[in-house]
C-alpha cells in the first residue's frame, strides 16, 4: 500500500498531524504562534548549514531552530527590545541569511520551493520512518510530562511554588517544537509548518472542555486536514502543502458556525 507516492504522502501527513495537534495546543495556550514561526523560518538556515557542513539535514535543522530559540531567550533577558521586535528580527533575518547561504551553494541543486512550501508527494519510506520514530518520541515526552507542562502553562509561579520546574517545561517545549519543525519541514515547508500547529488546535478549542480532549481533537482535525487537502490537491491539481492548510482553514471556518458556546462549562443548577 505504501508503494505509491500518494499513499506515502497520506501516511506521512497523518503521522505529522498526530504530533502537531497536541503540541500546537501548547503553542496556542502559551501564545507562541509567532515564536513558532520564527523557529520555522530558521529551518532554511539549518538546511544551508547542513549542506555546507555535510551533516544530516534533520539534525541540522533541529540544532539551528533550537539555537534560535535559545538566542531569543537570552535576548529577552536583556530587557531591551520587546519580544515582538526581537521575534521580527530573528524570524526574517534567519530566513534571509538562509536564502543568501543557499545562493552560495552553487555545487548543489536545491529545490528552494520544496523547502519553503514543502513537497509531501516526494516523501520517501525513510522520511516516514523519521516522522513516525520522531513523532512517537515527541508524543511520549509530551505525555510523560503532561502535568508539569500544563501546570507551567497555567501559571509558572504556582507550578514553582508547588515544587514543579516551569523553566524546564519551557525549554522542553522549545526542544519539542524544534524537533517537529525538523521533521515537518520536508512535508509542508518552513513557511507553512506553524499553520499545522495552530489551525487544528484553534479549531479544537471550541469543541473541547478539557486540555486533554483539545489535544486529541486537534490531532484528529489535523489528520482530517491532511487527508482532505491531499485528495483536494489530487482532484484539482493544486499544490499539496498549501492545499492541506486550506483544508485546515475550511474546517476551522466550519467549526465557527457550530453553536457550542454554552455546551461546555455548565453548572449544576439543581440543589444549592
Amino acid at each position: 500500500m505504501l508503494g505509491d507516492f500518494f499513499s506515502r504522502a497520506l501516511v506521512a501527513g497523518v503521522g505529522l498531524a498526530a504530533v502537531t495537534g497536541p503540541l500546537g495546543c501548547f503553542v496556542v495556550w502559551r501564545r507562541m504562534a509567532y515564536f513558532g514561526d520564527t523557529m520555522a523560518h530558521s529551518a532554511l538556515l539549518g538546511v544551508a548549514i547542513s549542506i555546507l557542513l555535510s551533516i544530516n539535514m534533520t539534525l541540522g535543522v533541529f540544532a539551528v531552530a533550537a539555537l534560535v530559540a535559545g538566542a531569543l531567550l537570552l535576548l529577552q533577558r536583556q530587557n531591551t527590545l520587546s519580544t515582538d521586535a526581537l521575534l521580527g528580527i530573528l524570524s526574517h533575518s534567519s530566513l534571509a541569511v538562509g536564502l543568501v547561504l543557499v545562493g552560495f551553494l552553487t555545487q548543489v541543486r536545491i529545490d528552494l520551493m520544496g523547502f519553503l512550501f514543502g513537497d509531501i508527494l516526494a516523501v520517501s519510506m525513510e522520511d516516514i520512518y523519521i516522522i513516525y520514530g520522531g513523532g512517537i518520541a515527541i508524543l511520549a515526552i509530551l505525555a510523560l510530562n503532561w502535568r508539569p507542562l500544563l501546570a507551567a502553562t497555567v501559571s509558572p509561579e504556582l507550578a514553582e511554588a508547588e515544587g514543579l520546574k516551569p523553566e524546564v517545561s519551557r525549554i522542553l517545549l522549545m526542544l519539542l517544537m524544534a524537533s517537529v519543525i525538523a521533521i515537518a519541514m520536508k512535508l509542508v515547508g518552513v513557511l507553512l509548518i506553524t499553520s499545522l500547529l495552530i489551525i487544528p488546535a484553534a479549531t479544537a478549542r471550541r469543541l473541547s472542555a478539557t486540555p486533554e480532549f483539545m489535544a486529541l481533537v486537534a490531532a484528529v482535525l489535523g489528520a482530517a486536514s491532511v487527508v482532505a487537502g491531499l485528495y483536494g490537491s489530487l482532484t484539482w491539481d493544486t499544490a499539496s502543502g498549501p492545499s492541506i492548510v486550506v483544508a485546515a482553514l475550511l474546517i476551522f471556518l466550519v467549526s465557527l458556525t457550530v453553536p457550542t458556546a454554552r455546551l461546555f462549562g455548565r453548572r449544576e443548577s439543581h440543589g444549592a
Binding site: R147, V154, G265, R267
Partner: protein, 273 residues
Amino acid sequence: MDMRMKGETLITLTNAGVKSGGRVLVEGVDLSIARGEIVTLIGPNGSGKSTTAKMATGVLKPSTGTVTRKAGLKIGYVPQKLSIDWTLPLTVERLMTLTGHFSRPEIESALAAVGAGRLLHAAVQELSGGEFQRVLFARAMIRKPDLLVLDEPVQGVDFSGEVALYELVRQIRDTTQAGILMISHDLHVVMAETDTVICLNGHVCCRGTPAAVKRSPEYLALFGARAADTLAIYEHHHDHEHHDDGCLVGKHGEHEHPHGHVHHDHSEHDHAR
C-alpha cells in the same frame, strides 16, 4: 486535627534578604511559621512582601541570610491573580488536579469544603471573582499542605466575599493545622486571627499582633496616622485574646522613616538606603 503536631516549626527565615541587579529588594527578614499559625505580611507596593513569600516557598533563593524549611514541606499556593486564557479549556475539576493527581471523591469533598461543590463542571473562565478564589483555595487545600501561602487573597472580591474568605482561612487553619502565610497590601483588612503581622518596607519595620502593629510608631510612620483608623481588623466571636504587648521593633526599624509625609502616598515613599 492532630494536636500533637501543633507548634511544629515549618519554616524559618533568618536575616534573609534578596538582591537583584545590585538593588536590595528586601533584607534582614526574620520570621518563622509554625503549624496552626497565621502570619500576615503587610507593606506598600515594592516593599518586599512577595519577595519574602517567594523566599519562603523556595521560588527565590536568599542572597543573604538563611531559609530553613521542614524536610518534605508541602506548600499549597493561592496566587494573587490567575488569568486563564480562553484558549485553554479548563473545568474546575481539571484545575483541581493541576499539580497532582486526586480522585473524584477527594476533589468533590475539597470543593464542598469551600462551598463550591456545584462548580465541579464549570469552566474556570466563567466563574465570578469570589467563586474563583474559593476554587483556588480548594485547589491549594486538596494537596493537604503543611504551609498555605495566600497572595492577596481577597483582591477583586467584594466586602461580604472578603469576610467569607477570611472565615474560610480560619476554618482551614482550625481543621488542618496548616501554617498560613498571607500577603496583603490592603491595609484595611488584616484578620484578627493573625498571630503575627509583619510590616515590611524593604526590611521589617515592625511586627506583633494586629492590634499592637496598628499602634506602633513605625506603622504609623509608614502608612500615616489615618491608616490606623482604616486598619479594620476582622473580629470573630471567639475566645481568642489579643495581647497588647508592644510591637517588636525590627533590627532596622530605628526611625529611619521620614515622618509626616503625605498620607497614603505609598508608592512615592522613597526609602533611600
